[in-house]
Symmetry: C2
Subunit: 435 residues, 2 copies
């Protein structure tokens, strides 16, 4: 059985490992368009900031290991440009490989609109190791940095630049940062940004970049901003344009539609990770939230399906977390905006609660919002911002959401209590009790 995997990162190599572990005689070919396999993309902002000391630290297993230890025909600089679903062949510049089972795990790429001057030196994205190496190289003489986009990557980059002592400006076309949180929580993020000297420009849109060879100004609908370096972080889109004409079904944004077993609509073709859709348990429909956790899970399950030991993907619940200087922003489930889009009747409870027993030294407040269905009382989402203990409560809420708990049932959980760790009722239970 010839297994071919397009893409050598989280999803692709999770699948490859699943296959070779199950069948040591399996013939697995992996086709990576770049030169680096299997690295932790989420660590890239921290290499820029010097928090993580080298790009090499991010590489889980290098290409040689895949070849020599696991017998995978792991190829680099192999960009697939065409898939022939009839002949079961994938091909690119100077190569062609036949498959019995194919996994598409090509990931996603940063969205870069065709702004005037976008090709100038000094304008970067942060998605791959080569991207980020180029940025680091370019950063030495840069003092004034403009980050376009106030989402997770934008925030992480802004933090890391600020920690390096750079002058950072963030441009966000919406009126707030971290737009996947409810507006009530945004002010915490803005305060933290300003506290660390970051200039925030809201409701402002980039129109062009100016400069000779190198960018010197960002031109927006509201003015011009001096810049030695620019990072564009306004989102990603799935790398699926090479599938045009194959008949593989894509969703509106170009993500490959997969079922619970990572199967596409075309026989023997699977997809996983940032190039694919994810079933959302709370929305009860497919969604597109490209995160490393999902890529690893989907990749692994794609591998299971490809070797004939299928196990269904149980779906995502919309969990994510980010550090922004001294605060942590965590969320799971749906924001109010997402609930409204689905048209569910809902209520939201919010409160600020100390993260440990109030009488124990150094309690830090958690700003918590829990939303639930107004009729069924099913928990729909939780968002928390605070300095300590955010990730813990988000993971409990994520587990609760996974099991479709009702808001009042959170009280029933037997959570760990001792004064250094919690209140006798956990903060999320305290909020739930205010229903």
């Amino acid at each position: 059985m010839r297994y071919v995997i397009i893409g050598g990162d989280a999803a692709g190599m999770s699948a490859a490992m699943q296959i070779v572990r199950a069948d040591q005689k399996a013939k697995v070919t992996t086709l990576e368009m770049g030169e680096v396999y299997s690295y932790a993309q989420c660590g890239l902002p921290y290499v820029v900031g010097g928090v993580i000391d080298s790009f090499d630290s991010l590489i889980a297993r290098d290409v040689e290991t895949f070849r020599s230890k696991y017998g995978i025909d792991a190829r680099v600089n192999h960009e697939v440009t065409a898939v022939d679903v009839e002949k079961q062949t994938v091909s690119g510049n100077g190569f062609s490989v036949d498959y019995d089972k194919l996994l598409i795990a090509t990931g996603a790429s940063p969205i870069v609109p065709p702004w005037d001057g976008v090709e100038l030196a000094g304008i970067h994205t942060v998605k791959t190791i080569p991207d980020t190496k180029a940025l680091v190289e370019d950063l030495k003489d840069a003092e004034r940095i403009v980050v376009v986009g106030g989402g997770y990557i934008g925030l992480e980059m802004a933090e890391n630049f600020a920690q390096l002592g750079k002058k950072v400006t963030m441009i966000e076309r919406n009126p707030r940062l971290a737009g996947i949180f409810d507006p009530e929580l945004s002010e915490n993020v803005h305060v933290e940004a300003k506290k660390h000297g970051i200039e925030l420009r809201f409701e402002e849109s980039v129109e062009a970049f100016a400069g000779k060879e190198r960018v010197t100004e960002v031109v927006t609908d509201k003015g011009r901003i001096d810049a030695d370096l620019v990072v564009i972080a306004i989102g990603v889109r799935p790398n699926t344009s090479f599938l045009d004409g194959t008949g593989i079904h894509l969703s509106g944004n170009g993500a490959i539609k997969v079922d619970a077993f990572m199967k596409t609509n075309v026989e023997n073709i699977f997809a996983a990770g940032d190039c694919a859709t994810q079933y959302h348990r709370v929305k009860e429909r497919d969604d597109y939230i490209p995160l490393g956790t999902h890529a690893n899970k989907q990749g692994r399950l794609a591998g299971c399906s490809m070797i004939g030991k299928p196990r269904p993907f149980q779906g995502i619940v919309g969990t994510s977390v980010i550090k922004f200087f001294e605060i942590t922003l965590g969320r799971t489930g749906l924001s109010e905006a997402e609930i409204e889009e689905l048209g569910y009747p809902y209520k939201t409870i919010e409160a600020s609660i100390p993260h440990i027993a109030g009488y124990y030294p150094e309690p830090k407040k958690l700003d918590i919002r829990l939303s639930y269905h107004a009729e069924t009382e099913q928990l729909l989402g939780g968002q928390i911002i605070g300095k300590e203990g955010v990730d813990k409560r988000i993971d409990v809420l994520a587990t609760a959401l996974f099991h479709r708990m009702r808001i009042s049932e959170l009280e029933d959980l037997d959570l760990a209590y001792a004064p250094p760790y919690n209140g006798v009722w956990d903060p999320i239970q305290q909020v739930a009790r205010r229903k």
Copy 2:
């Protein structure tokens, strides 16, 4: 409707508050044998150590607040010595109160065997504010402290004494500390104790105390230990002896048997907290694990039942956590010893995993053990010891146990990932995957 509650602490006052909130005209009488209402017992060791600055910090609401703000007839120094279940009357020295609904929330008391010399000055328990005030008073001139018992209270007291610079010896009749953990994890605790200068004496049993007015030596089956002060922390027993002859059913250790609605077998009588049993969801039978979390939950639900708005107690899963110097010990579900007692076939997986992304600065290892049913694969228990992030994983496991997840289903959870908080697969998922 006359509501009478015996006991003015967590369970009793949780019930009282539930009642007065639902019915502001309710006549609620609370009978507390001591003078202090509603305080956080779990904070007591930290007041001894000076980590928490005063006993007053532990008092959630004082007796005056219950009286003036909530209209509760909150009495102090009212020890109930008899219950007449026919006449529906409780009585003590010089008082008698009629009830329509009665809640017994008398808590538990430290077990103090009738050792010779146990009445000597300098020998203490730590369960109430008066207990602990006496200990603090007595501590000033004490240098050599013996802690009898290596369970949670013993560990917390030993830590706090050591932090004050005292010379601490722990005596445990079993061969290890923290016996509710699997033996494989005990060594972590022993290393931590020794690192902080605590002398450990295992498989040694106290036989007597020596001294004139004040204790000077602990006499054991293996020798004599100099002591200026002794703390006995070998467990508690429910305060239910005053119920003899009432016909109220007690379990083997004297805890009051309650149903899911906190009802005893006698009409109009309820019980909650450390004097009552708790249904254990994993054992699928009643258990006795006296903890503040359960007391608060049971008290609240007893209040719900008493006002005719019953809501069932969903049971405990055996969760607890403790800080011991720089390490955290957390557990939920069943230890191997408990599983063996139930006779389930089981398997245990263990591993040491960094608590955050391995490439992010300062990952700390978590020693994790997960046990599951060998046939159904249902998760039965989880234990973790480490320096960071233990309580988070225990709460996730507790939520998973609550929902009777199978070990392999842990992989499906959508937990929060960013390098400062987690690996892309959470450590508990990494362990679960080794199944």
